[in-house]
């Protein structure tokens, strides 16, 4: 399907960019006229993915994080969050709820579980040593349209 609109964002993997990047994606999403819940869901999912780039993609250095967001005519937004960091050896294990590679007990290990519960589709591609790309797809329900399924 042909996209209606697209934006790209590139920033350093500094933790104070977590708030900036999720807010920027939410501002772009707002042209779909989402509900507050839909906006919060995507903001939260983007925050998880960007945090993963900062904490896991570039654990000992600062690299660049690349976000592309596209809007499609079926009221769908697809956000891709990419890093060129260390990559994930075992994607299946990384996506298990409560699994974390950080032993200090302060990371819940729920990043992917949150993304999966708040998005319609989550796709992860990774190559060790080359980086990771996470694509989040979220439908925004058209106002006045009730498919009986709700937005979540």
């Amino acid at each position: 399907m042909k996209m209606l609109n697209q934006m790209k964002l590139t920033f350093m993997s500094k933790s104070n960019n977590e708030a900036f990047s999720r807010t920027a994606v939410a501002a772009f999403m707002s042209q779909l006229d989402p509900t507050v819940d839909e906006l919060t869901d995507l903001k939260t999912a983007v925050s998880e993915a960007v945090t993963n780039c900062i904490v896991h993609g570039y654990p000992d250095s600062i690299g660049m994080v690349y976000i592309t967001a596209a809007i499609y005519p079926d009221s769908r937004i697809v956000v891709t969050i990419k890093d060129k960091g260390c990559g994930i050896d075992d994607i299946g294990r990384a996506m298990e709820p409560l699994y974390t590679s950080c032993p200090d007990g302060e990371r819940a290990g729920l990043g992917f579980a949150v993304m999966q519960s708040l998005c319609d589709k989550v796709r992860v591609r990774s190559a060790p040593g080359k980086g990771t790309s996470v694509s989040l797809t979220r439908m925004v329900r058209l106002r006045g349209q009730d498919d009986g399924k709700g937005a979540e």
Binding site: L98, G105, E106, A108
Partner: protein, 110 residues
């Protein structure tokens, strides 16, 4: 860009931490340090995390809860949670964490 702060009160054996603003990986570190410092000094029997004024929270907030739960257990006390945002409550349930911090019973429990 400091968007988060925490107000901490001590009343008898209850230490209350009111979290204000956005909780993410960036802000969680400072919140954690402030709470742990106050708890280390006061050694309260109960620690209450109040999420009433939290405007955004991702799974870093859950990590914050899990870490404080472990700390209070070490101090021989208990952790209370109040006003957890609905979308995060949903995620905690998904991970089965409502057993760790029971957030169902009127918003506050062990």
């Amino acid at each position: 860009m400091l968007k988060m702060s925490v107000r901490i009160y001590l009343a008898d054996d209850l230490l209350t931490a009111c979290l204000i603003g956005e909780i993410d990986h960036h802000s969680a570190k400072a919140i954690r340090e402030e709470i742990d410092e106050a708890a280390g000094r006061a050694r309260p029997e109960r620690l209450m995390l109040d999420f009433r004024d939290v405007t955004f929270m991702d799974s870093s907030g859950i990590g914050l809860v899990m870490g404080r739960y472990a700390m209070m257990r070490e101090l021989g006390g208990e952790l209370l949670i109040d006003n957890m945002p609905a979308h995060i409550k949903k995620v905690m349930k998904l991970a089965g964490l409502e057993k760790l911090a029971n957030i169902e019973t009127g918003g506050r429990a062990k």
